[in-house]
Subunit: 152 residues, 4 copies
């Protein structure tokens, strides 16, 4: 299995993309902070917005649209996730989720993240993704991934 | 659209089935109580356990197993939900979700619920369900639903 | 207990406020649609944005800021929720959550909602809220609620 | 910040405790599998059951009950989480979440997890926890943690 190799920086300038979102009350817990599981949805939302920003919206990836139609739909399954919680988030915080792609292979890629709010790093994270077809079987990444991010 | 017609009683004796679950910390919110959205997952978990108890596990309904194989898989889509929150639930509470089926038609049925903890009614609810096929189109309910619960 | 009395219209023009959000992949389910429990978070997010838009952000209400400082923090606990699911939402849909306040009493108010996407009504909903203090005890609504929305 | 040092084994026999739970339909996603964020709630539920099993239920830890009353309430905040997803879980799967505690210091401890279903390893995970007081400030772990698990 792929193992995470990216080291997420705490400097927003090290990331080519950032997505701003606002925490929800539903995501708080009885400690009065954002529950740690909600961060995984934030990472996912930022990945989705990044794919849209580079012209490959995830719903099109899943449908097999565009240049990859011949290959059929693809999912970028999560193989691994790691989050370091540095400082809590609270209800109604505006959070910038910065990300960059790295460690691209023929079938996997990794994403490093920095979550910041109020100018402070709140969390860093890495996700490892594997390309799968519509039935969940491992598949080669669409050609544009290698073109866009390079492949090892 | 079907409209809810069941009146959920606050007496557990009025329900033929009850499922006990325990609230999760992840389901609390910054008010220190269980967030209201978590109740919908509790209702769903109780429906799933009820179907299992009567010999029609929901995964088999969805796969089109058993006597309904010819008809193909079915989902019981949620058409409507209504919850009255009477007294809060807290982290680690043991909750009895009592339920009964009613108002069965050829394509829809309703479920009334009582959520109780510590011998007190905490919430009542009604869900209205419509049978759909694997592509989300309205479909007739499996024959066992009418047999088990009667049809109007 | 307060009972919902508002009738949510399916015409966006009947609502004074709308908040646009985008569904998340984490909110989908194995039927390939947005799980019904996610709608409650959408309603809540729209309420929070509405309170911000009228100058009473919910984090300030909870902290007891502004004119209501003397009264201490307040929460608008959810006493009742009812949703009618008319047509499914899918991953990455942009959803307009329209809302209007009504049925204001000294301690409760109601909110009617229309969720629309692609120019179509997808769901309508009503929530009933009761004002509580920091310990969860019923309390009078802040004065601005009656001023803003009228009281019965 | 504490960094995870435990290596979670894929052999259930390496863990002193296991908690069985069942996946919910609400936790599935449009890939037809359990969404990866749901695993964090499974880990948490298993931790809570483990604390109950050893006589220190988490609600008592949070309330500052028992021998630690003088110290006041404590939370075991999540400082870090890492999950490796080896094989998907599906709706209605029965999952055994095995866990063991390790790497205990004066203020932090780690937990290693194995999630298995149908006799197969589905995921492994590590969480790192820091003891905090009722206001979220770092605090010493209750004495029973060191006694029970040893401290470095």
């Amino acid at each position: 299995m792929a193992r995470q190799s990216l080291q997420p920086s705490r400097d927003p300038a090290d990331y080519p993309f950032a997505h701003r979102l606002r925490t929800r009350f539903a995501e708080t817990d009885a400690m009065g902070i954002i529950h740690h599981a909600a961060y995984l949805a934030y990472l996912e939302e930022a990945r989705v917005e990044y794919l849209r920003a580079i012209g490959h919206p995830y719903h099109a990836v899943r449908a097999g649209d565009g240049e990859d139609r011949a290959a059929g739909g693809r999912d970028f399954a999560v193989l691994e996730v790691s989050v370091q919680f540095r400082k809590p988030l609270h209800f109604d915080d505006e959070v910038d989720v910065s990300l960059r792609i790295g460690a691209v292979t023929g079938t996997t890629f990794q994403v490093a993240y920095l979550l910041s709010a109020g100018g402070e790093a709140r969390a860093t994270a890495v996700t490892v993704h594997g390309c799968v077809d519509g039935r969940g079987r491992p598949a080669r990444l669409p050609a544009w991934v290698a073109e866009e991010f390079g492949a090892a």
